[in-house]
Symmetry: C2
Subunit: 431 residues, 2 copies
């Protein structure tokens, strides 16, 4: 049986999980796939802290270049966009395949990395960068190879989904839940990357790039986080039959080939499968022209689930090596399967609007007039009394309208004396 | 760009879908994966009936051997277990890779076919044999390569799921819904393969074989169809918070390594994701020791969805050919990752029991005594009046008990004068 040496750079949570998986299940892999994966090097600046896994003697090193020089397959789990990039490029320069979970790095420097890989014919695999343990990248670029992708919806960030699910269940406010999530280890001390939507956006950029054959990076991705989603909105949405999720939306118009890529809080019908994705779980819905609607669900993060994806990639890369297949599936493709990107102001969307208005005659008339003038039609409307008897809460769901028209109408309405300035707008997808 | 000739044998619904997909999306495949797939031969005894797809001149043939001789990749879509097997073996003998959707053939003759493939190093891919368009086989044997599989649950037959979903929604009886499903083309004129559970069992055997490294065939699969599921049971289950699904269950005890493989109507909690899989859709839940819980959902049948899976396989096989990789991922593995199969009578399961009993004192006492003596404990109980005032319906949910003990207790209870003979027993999985 062919033996291949695996070098892990970055002995953090995921690194430790990958090492453990290789040590525990290496025999299963050998028996199933006929390749023996030997954990040869684990590199980290800190090799003394206990990570809950016993690494064989002589494997730990503080010198990442040792791992790169000595191993057949290089696993980059350092994270970040600086030294991680250097390690990857050094490995690729030597023609050595790389497995990484680094979505931020790929979103930012994907093209440079893939170009380096192409030069030497080395593989770059990155299943763990999107959707944790869910084999979504493999399914998308291999399983759905025969499809034009029409639409993808993703719940891609466990932290945000945990916060929104818990608000929905307990009625606690965003700040309270966030603090608790930090205590539980579900949110970072600096939670911005998650709650401001950037982590989801990195993953969205990668999915869109794979489906439409251009490495998009972050520029074309519209991003809005969940910090403005209030308990009030979650409650109003529920009463209308919707849940609020931070949703990655990638949509192509089949006629024109125009593409939308965006990440924002979104109202989705409570009976849709995506709406039942709770807590730290992730899910991706993929619609292809042949396969129709599909959904993939699983743990989006965590030591074991991420390790599963990384090890799946290691096996793939190992089989390529033993078979002499180089770049068997292109790291990414330049198929260019779209015409142009739709600027955010031109997208068409239904939306949820929440106003706090003075409880006196004529206010509703003024608001609905402005909307009518902007050609925005209302599909449902609820007006509730507030604790303060001078004010009322007004919630509307609109039919599809152009984003720019909605935004202009909101600006007009905000100018009204009887409307408090904080109008909430959340887009709707009728999945 | 490398060109490869594809030969389709069997120009039925799926064959036509595959031809259409290759013709329509061949350019997308070429741009993404750098391989040009040419539809070179489509063989069928009937090459005159219109299948809604325009096959290029000179491609249609009535001679399957022509397709096998002239093409690089052979797609078997004849179905059945006789001539289809001959075609596959003829292709493999010539070292030509085969893509098939034929679950019945694989379940029955898998070992013979895989041995023939191994001999010449040719690939056999069969994604479309389980779960239609869902890339479940790829995910299982590639994406989850690092995992020991602990459990799989599958809704694998669209016909059964359509019937059960519709009974649940409309309250119509099984026979009525079946007849309508036949009219709509969702069920065959002879529906036995579907409603008696054999189709699901074929697919279950394939999934279990891939996960546990032994080609099981049909023998170890316990099979029970849905013909005995009555509207009454669906209603009672609903009132208890459960839905009835025809479920494939593959379970390994992590401690002992013992394996259960079974297919039967099953009560699952209404709030589980599998319970929300409706109509002709399929879904598979896979639990791995690293990846945790995952779920895959999509169309389990139909021309386009099945074509998606077949074409995904064709691309895989094509990339293997252009890279000179032979049996890169083994057609199946002999990893033997279990200790022994649990005979049905020894499985432990919760179950739902429905009795029609005489509405007089002491009946419940007699029944519960028999259950208590057999060490079967009751978790919930509902007694309802029936239209006939002499009889009552008694519905119980039990805690876990051994199948043989449950069956014996039922036999004892059936002997009671006050119990009509038709006691309904449906197993429960608290997914």
């Amino acid at each position: 049986m062919k033996e291949l040496g695996v070098g892990i750079i970055g002995f953090g949570t995921v690194g430790a999980g990958v090492a453990q998986c290789l040590l525990e299940n290496g025999d299963v892999i050998a028996r199933r796939d006929g390749v023996k994966l030997v954990l040869k090097r684990v590199a980290d600046l800190d090799i003394t802290t206990d990570r809950g896994v016993k690494i064989p003697d002589g494997v730990l090193t503080t010198n990442a270049m040792e791992a790169i020089e000595e191993c057949d397959i290089i696993v980059e789990l350092v994270g970040g966009t600086t030294i991680a990039k250097t390690f990857i490029l050094e490995a690729l320069k030597r023609g050595k395949p790389v497995v990484t979970a680094n979505k931020a790095l790929l979103a930012k420097y994907g093209e440079e990395i893939f170009a380096a890989a192409e030069k030497t014919g080395a593989d770059v695999y990155y299943e763990a960068s999107v959707g944790g343990g869910i084999p979504i990248i493999k399914s998308l670029r291999e399983g759905f190879a025969g499809n034009r992708i029409r639409r993808m919806y993703g719940i891609l960030n466990g932290t945000c989904n945990y916060i929104l699910t818990r608000m929905e269940r307990t009625g606690e406010d965003f700040d309270v839940v966030l603090k608790d999530a930090q205590k539980l280890g579900y949110a970072e001390a600096n939670p911005s990357l998650d709650i401001d939507g950037f982590d989801t956006a990195h993953k969205t950029a990668i999915l869109a790039s794979l489906a439409y054959g251009k490495w998009f990076g972050m520029d074309p991705v519209y991003v809005e986080g969940i910090t403005n989603v209030s308990m009030n909105d979650i409650r109003c949405a529920a009463s209308l039959g919707y849940k609020v999720k931070l949703l990655a939306i990638i949509k192509q118009d089949a006629e024109t080939g125009k593409l939308e890529i965006r990440v924002h809080p979104t109202l989705i019908p409570v009976n849709s499968m995506l709406a039942s994705v709770s807590d730290v779980f992730n899910a991706v819905r993929v619609d292809g022209d042949y396969v129709g609607n599909t959904l993939f669900y699983g743990r989006g993060a965590g030591r074991e689930a991420t390790a599963s994806a990384v090890v799946g990639d290691i096996v793939d890369v190992a089989l390529n090596l033993t078979d002499g297949a180089r770049q068997r599936v292109p790291s990414y493709n330049k198929a260019n399967l779209f015409t142009e990107l739709v600027p955010m102001k031109e997208i068409e969307t239904r939306c949820y609007l929440r106003f706090t208005v003075a409880d006196k005659p004529g206010v509703l008339a003024k608001i609905t007039n402005i909307l009518a003038t902007a050609d925005i039609s209302i599909s449902s409307l609820i007006q509730n009394e507030t604790k303060d008897e001078d004010f009322a809460t007004l919630v509307m769901m609109t039919h599809k309208a152009k984003e720019a028209d909605i935004k202009n109408a909101i600006a007009e309405i905000e100018k009204l004396d009887d409307v408090t300035s904080n109008i909430k707008m959340i887009r709707i997808e009728d999945i």
